[in-house]
């Protein structure tokens, strides 16, 4: 009965129109970033530049400009911190979740609940002491310290997401491997973990996005240091530009390109990661 009728066509048109309105900000973003400072001031903000120019991007990224070094440094810091955090979350989170999923002891269940409650606890309250604790441990203002802090903050999420996948994994493979004489460590490393590709993907995408886009924690822990991540670099740089929207938007686009490229490359995984990961 759900054939493509005139009504469906109408719905399609209405939905496309709504989506176009939703996506308008991207149009403004791109069109303004392709204007010169003069054009921003003299032409309508709605119009696309008659002669689009990449001048702003050149200004920002050419090695001679002041901005380029902090932008590239920010990009590098963001990549290192995000990759490091994801790696730590996978290495530390997966064996822990595995033990919780396969152990039948009461203590393991109770500890697993502790992880779930930790996801629930609001981060705001811990942020101040976390800062003090990290400052005393010398973790403030360094990429390594940031990786440790993010790993600590996101480990419950990692354990929780892995836990959901492990509990749905049939035990047959592990039993077969035991019969073949493999040790527990070997079973985990060579049988179970490789089967957990989708779980690792979900952890990487959800945690990676949180870390990559995080502004609050990065601002507190890294501002003023030489290791600012991209959002903090952008915040500081935009603060120095008063209404130079063409340059501001060029910075915004530069900061968005890596994550959007990644998104379009793996968009199915992203969306599944969100929907599937949340369903546990």
């Amino acid at each position: 009965m759900f054939h493509y009728t005139k009504k469906t066509l109408l719905l399609e048109i209405v939905t496309i129109l709504a989506a176009v309105v939703m996506l308008m900000p991207f149009y403004f973003l791109i069109s303004t970033s392709l204007k010169t400072q003069d054009q921003v001031l003299t032409t309508s903000s709605l119009s696309f530049p008659v002669s689009p120019t990449f001048e702003n991007f050149v200004t920002l990224l050419s090695p001679s400009s002041d901005a380029s070094s902090s932008i590239f440094q920010g990009l590098l810091n963001s990549v290192i911190i995000t990759a490091g955090t994801i790696a730590a979350l996978v290495v530390i989170g997966s064996p822990a979740a595995y033990v919780f999923a396969r152990s039948t002891s009461r203590w393991s269940t109770r500890t697993y609940y502790l992880f779930m409650i930790a996801i629930l606890l609001p981060t705001q309250l811990g942020v101040v002491p976390l800062y003090v604790e990290a400052r005393d441990l010398g973790l403030v203002g360094t990429p390594f310290g940031m990786i440790v802090v993010y790993t600590g903050m996101l480990i419950p999420l990692s354990v929780f997401l892995y836990g959901g996948f492990f509990r749905r994994l049939p035990r047959d493979y592990e039993e077969a491997a035991t019969v073949d004489g493999a040790s527990r460590t070997r079973i985990f490393a060579q049988v179970v973990f490789p089967l957990m590709g989708p779980a690792t993907g979900t952890v990487a995408i959800l945690a990676g996005l949180i870390v990559w886009n995080d502004f609050f924690t990065a601002l507190i822990f890294l501002n003023g240091s030489g290791f600012q991540t991209l959002p903090v670099v952008m915040y500081n740089y935009v603060g120095s530009l008063v209404s130079q929207w063409n340059l501001i938007f060029a910075v915004v686009i530069i900061s968005m390109v890596p994550i959007l490229a990644f998104y379009f490359f793996a968009q199915k995984k992203f969306i599944q990661g969100y929907a599937g990961g949340l369903k546990g």
């Binding site: 705001q124 942020v127 749905r168 959800l206 929207w245 915004v252």
Partner: protein, 312 residues
């Protein structure tokens, strides 16, 4: 840090799948000998979440400035919070933003999900495009919208072009409208996220069930209320809880769009925590504010869990 316990609710829904058929005696288990596999994760969690949260609650009753010694001052921080007009204003703003955010992003997300569930030829393309704002940094999104709301920006120009010149104004400088502007930006960025959660829920509703209801003469609205809604209850619970918590924690957008202004009209609890703690170095007072925010989040998530619990 946008994930929350509503996931726990969702687990209940999906973990109900039958256990693997392995015999009870033969089931593969991990014994006590392997508890150390979980040790690093447990240690990190205790150090970075439980210890910090507990000491945050402790400092909330002191006048600590971040260095040196401090005194216990009982409930003084809290009485000061509730006697300062700007802070109670921030509390009200936080609640308004959170509720508006839950309503706005869930209604619009659900509408898009219903439209893009099946049938439309462009549904896959549109889903991908509409989800795009979710992956971008909130701070980047805020800058785009700051331009849109600017006095000579696209919004005012559009209003002028359609003959609504009298509606033009400096949106972010107007104390009454700035909060609404912040809300629009928050909702805009979250629609794709709620849409995806609702799409996942709608995928579990069998077409046959809707067809049967249609044959029985139920109109689209009736079908939605009596067939679809009850079946996507878990998705509603997840999406509303997540957006509620995200809304209560709102920070990035406010800092980037208005910095809390004009005249504190868009301050929220999270921006006040930041300012009192890291700008004014009043760690104790900042912690007290954070404790108020945390208690608020806890109360609302519990109420929320209760209100959207599975009624089946």
């Amino acid at each position: 840090m946008t994930m929350t316990e509503s996931q726990a609710g969702a687990v209940g829904a999906t973990a109900a799948t039958p256990k693997p058929a392995a015999g009870r005696q033969r089931a593969y288990r991990i014994g006590y000998g392997y508890w150390w596999w979980a040790l690093p994760a447990v240690a990190l969690m205790l150090a970075f979440i439980y210890a910090t949260t507990a000491s945050g609650a402790f400092y909330a009753f002191t006048n600590w400035t971040g260095i040196g010694s401090f005194d216990f001052i009982g409930l003084k921080n809290f009485t000061r919070i509730f006697q300062t007009e700007e802070l109670t204003g921030a509390l009200v703003n936080t609640l308004l933003l959170a509720f508006g955010f839950v309503l706005g992003s869930n209604i619009l997300g659900l509408l898009f999900a219903l439209a893009l569930n099946r049938g439309l030829k462009t549904r896959y393309v549109l889903r991908t495009l509409l989800f795009m704002p979710v992956v971008i940094a909130p701070i980047a999104v805020s800058y785009i919208w700051k331009f849109i709301f600017a006095f000579d920006g696209p919004l005012n120009e559009t209003l002028g072009a359609v003959g609504l010149k009298s509606w033009q104004r400096d949106w972010l400088a107007d104390p009454k409208l700035a909060l609404l502007a912040v809300l629009v930006v928050m909702v805009w960025q979250n629609i794709g996220f709620t849409m995806v959660i609702y799409l996942a829920g709608l995928a579990t509703v069998p077409v046959e069930l809707e067809e049967a209801a249609a044959l029985d003469g139920a109109g689209p609205l009736r079908r939605f209320r009596s067939v679809t809604m009850p079946m996507i209850q878990p998705s509603i619970a997840i999406a509303t809880t997540l957006s509620l918590i995200q809304g209560l924690r709102i920070f990035d957008q406010v800092i980037a769009l208005t910095g809390g202004g004009p005249a504190g009209a868009t301050q929220t609890l999270a921006t006040e925590v930041y300012q009192h703690t890291f700008v004014f170095s009043n760690f104790g007072f900042g912690a007290a504010l954070a404790l108020v925010l945390s208690v608020l989040i806890l109360i609302f998530t519990v109420v929320q869990q209760y209100a959207t619990r599975d009624r089946l």
